[in-house]
C-alpha cells in the first residue's frame, strides 16, 4: 500500500520539517516491521496501515528536533522516534475501538475494516514490536541513555492507560460532573504525555541531556500537549473534514468529554441541560447503518437531531470561545517555558521548528 502524500501543502519551513521527519520515520518503521507473512497472516501488513495514512508525524519531528537542537545526531534518535510512532499508532487503533470511532485520517478505522478482534491484536502486536529496538538502543546511545529512554517509554505507556481510564469511566458511568480541572488532568495523561512529554524527553536523553534539562523541557511539553488536545476538540466542532481527517462532530456522536461540551452543560439553562444529558445517555448507532439514524430507536440511539442539538448548545453557551481561551492560556505557558529553556540554543532549523510549534498548536486547522 503506498504512503499517502504529505498533508502539509504549505511550502513553509515548518511543514517541510514535518514532511522530512515523516519520510525518515516511515523508512525506519518499514525496517522495524517484519515482512515475513508465513506464520502471522496479515499482522505486519495491517501494522503499517495507520502509519501509512496521512499523519502529521508530529511526535517523531518533536523527538528529532529536540535531539538535534541539543547537539545530538539524528541517527541516535531515529529508531526511538519510530518506536514512539508505532506506540502512537497502536494507541490509536485501541482508542478507536474504545471510542467506537468510525474514521481515522479520512479512512474507516481499522476495526471498521477488519473487526474488533483483529484490530485489538494488531495493536498488541505493535506494542510487542517496540521492545526489541529500544533494547538495541544500548549499542546506539550507550547503556545509561538507553535505560532512561526505556523508563520514559514505560512511564508514557502507564500515563496513557491512566488518562484513558479516567475518560472511559466517565463515559461508562455517564458522568458529566468532571470540571475543567479534571479534564486538564485527564488530557495531561492521555495526550500530553505521549504526544509531547515523551517525544521531547527521549529526544533530549538521546542527545545526552541530564535529568534537570529534561525537567525544564517538560515544563514546555506539558502545557503544549494540553493546548494541542483542546484545539483538537475544537477542530472536531468547527474543522473541515477533508483537512482535519477525522469525522466532524465525531466527538458529539461518541459522547466524548471535551472542554467545550463540559462548559456547555455547565452553562446551559436547566431544561436544555436535562435534554443534553438525556441525549448523552444514548449510544452511538453502529457505522454499518444497521440502525436507521432517524427511527423509533431514537430512545436508545443518538440521532442526527440529537447531535445538532448538542452542537447548537455549544454555540449558544460560548463554549468554543471558552475552550480556545483555555488552549491559548496553556500555549502561553508553553511559550514562556520555551523561551526560558531555549535561551542558550544556537539558531537552527530545529530551534525554529520548536519555536513555531507553539503557534501551530493553537492555530492549526489539521
Amino acid at each position: 500500500m503506498p504512503a499517502s502524500p504529505p498533508r502539509s501543502d504549505a511550502p513553509d519551513a515548518f511543514g517541510a520539517y514535518l514532511d522530512d521527519c515523516r519520510t525518515r520515520i516511515l523508512g525506519e518503521i518499514r525496517r522495524l516491521v517484519p515482512d515475513d507473512t508465513r506464520h502471522s497472516g496479515r499482522l505486519y501488513e495491517l501494522m503499517l496501515d495507520y502509519p501509512l495514512r496521512q499523519g502529521k508525524a508530529l511526535r517523531p519531528a518533536l523527538c528529532i528536533a529536540t535531539c538535534r537542537v541539543l547537539g545530538g545526531h539524528v541517527e541516535s534518535v531515529l529508531r526511538t522516534a519510530a518506536v514512539l510512532e508505532l506506540y502512537h499508532n497502536a494507541f490509536l487503533i485501541h482508542d478507536d475501538v474504545e471510542d467506537g470511532s468510525h474514521k481515522r485520517r479520512s479512512t474507516p478505522t481499522l476495526h471498521q475494516l477488519h473487526g474488533v478482534p483483529i484490530a485489538v491484536n494488531v495493536g498488541d502486536g505493535m506494542l510487542a514490536l517496540t521492545l526489541e529496538p529500544l533494547l538495541d538502543n544500548i549499542e546506539l546511545v550507550g547503556l545509561g541513555r538507553a535505560l532512561r529512554i526505556l523508563q520514559t517509554v514505560a512511564r508514557m505507556a502507564r500515563e496513557s492507560a491512566e488518562g484513558q481510564m479516567m475518560e472511559l469511566e466517565w463515559v461508562r458511568r455517564g458522568s458529566w460532573t468532571p470540571t475543567d480541572r479534571d479534564y486538564v488532568r485527564m488530557v495531561y495523561k492521555k495526550t500530553s504525555w505521549y504526544t509531547f512529554v515523551a517525544p521531547i524527553a527521549v529526544g533530549a536523553i538521546a542527545a545526552g541531556a541530564d535529568a534537570d534539562a529534561v525537567e525544564a523541557l517538560k515544563r514546555f511539553a506539558v502545557p503544549l500537549g494540553v493546548a494541542f488536545q483542546i484545539q483538537d476538540d475544537v477542530l472536531n466542532l468547527i474543522g473541515e473534514e477533508a483537512r482535519y481527517g477525522k469525522e466532524i462532530h465525531g466527538d458529539l456522536w461518541e459522547g466524548k468529554h471535551t472542554l467545550a461540551l463540559i462548559h456547555a452543560l455547565r452553562s446551559a439553562p436547566p431544561a436544555a441541560r436535562a435534554r443534553a444529558l438525556h441525549i448523552l445517555e444514548k449510544r452511538r448507532p453502529p457505522a454499518d447503518g444497521s440502525v436507521p439514524r432517524e427511527s423509533l430507536d431514537g430512545a436508545i440511539w443518538r440521532t442526527q437531531e440529537d447531535v445538532e442539538f448538542l452542537r447548537a448548545l455549544i454555540g449558544r453557551t460560548g463554549a468554543i470561545e471558552h475552550a480556545l481561551r483555555c488552549a491559548r492560556r496553556h500555549a502561553d505557558r508553553a511559550r514562556r517555558s520555551f523561551e526560558a529553556v531555549s535561551r542558550a540554543w544556537p539558531s537552527s532549523v530545529h530551534r525554529s521548528f520548536l519555536a513555531e510549534l507553539v503557534d501551530f498548536v493553537v492555530k492549526r486547522d489539521w
Copy 2:
C-alpha cells in the same frame, strides 16, 4: 476483593507446589500494581481481577521451578515470574474480547462486566506495567541476564500476537482448511511460547543458564505447550465446568479452530460437513440474552441445537480420541527431552514438579 481459594484440592506435592507459587506470585503482583486511585479510576483495581481469580499459576511455577532446579535463588526470579503472570492475564483479557468469551475462571469475563473499552484499556495498562520491573531486574540479576530476559519477553509478546493473528484470520475468513500441522504451528505461537517456552527460558536465564542450556529446555517446553493446549480444547468438550472454570462447549459457541473440530470436519460425511460449515458461518449470540437462542434468528445466530450438532459430530468422528492421541504424542516428545535435559539435576521438589508436569498436562481435568 479477596483472593479465591487455591484450585488444587489434592494434598499432593504437585498441587502444593503450585499453591505455594501462586501465593508468592499474588504477593509480588500486589507489589507491582500501584494502589493509587486518585487519577486512574479503577484501572489498578481491575488489573487485579483476573489474577485474583482461581488460576493455576502454572507459568510462575514453571519459572520458579526452572530457576531453582538450576541452582538459582527464588528472589532472582520472583519479580520476572510476576511480570509473566501480568502478561498472561493481560493476554487473557484481550483474548476474551477477541473470542467473545463469556466466562473466565467461572466468572463473567472482564468485558462482560465492564464493557469492551475498559477491558481493552485495562489490558494495555497491564502491558505498560511490565516494563519497569523488568528494567529493575538489572540490579537483581545483573545487566546481561536482565537484557536476555527482556529479549525473551519481547519475543514472547511477538509470537503470541502472531499466533493469535493466525487464528483470528481463520475465524474472520470462515476458513476451515487449516490442517493439523497449521493448528500445531498456531498453538506453538499462541500457547507454547508464553505458557511454557518463556517461563522456562527466563527461569533458566535468571539462574545463569547459557544459550545452549536454554535451547535444550525449549525442546522440552515447546511440545509440552502444544499438548497443554490440545488438552485444554478437549476439556472444553468433556470437562466439568465447575472444575475447569471455563464454559463447557464455549469453543463450539465461539467457533474456535480446535484440533477436534478440524478433525471432525475432515472426517464427516459430505452432508454433515456442509451443515457444520453452515453452522460455523453463524455468529455467537450476545451474552446478555438480547437474542433468544432458539428463535427465527437461527439463520444468523448459532443456536443450542447447532452446538449440539457440532458436539455430536465430534463424538461420531472419533475427534476427541484423535486429539488425545496427538496430545500424548507431543507429551511423549516433551518427556524424552525432559529426561535428556534433567539427567544431571539433583533430586529436589523443583525437579519433581517439572517431572510431574508432563503427566499433569495430559491427565488434568482443570
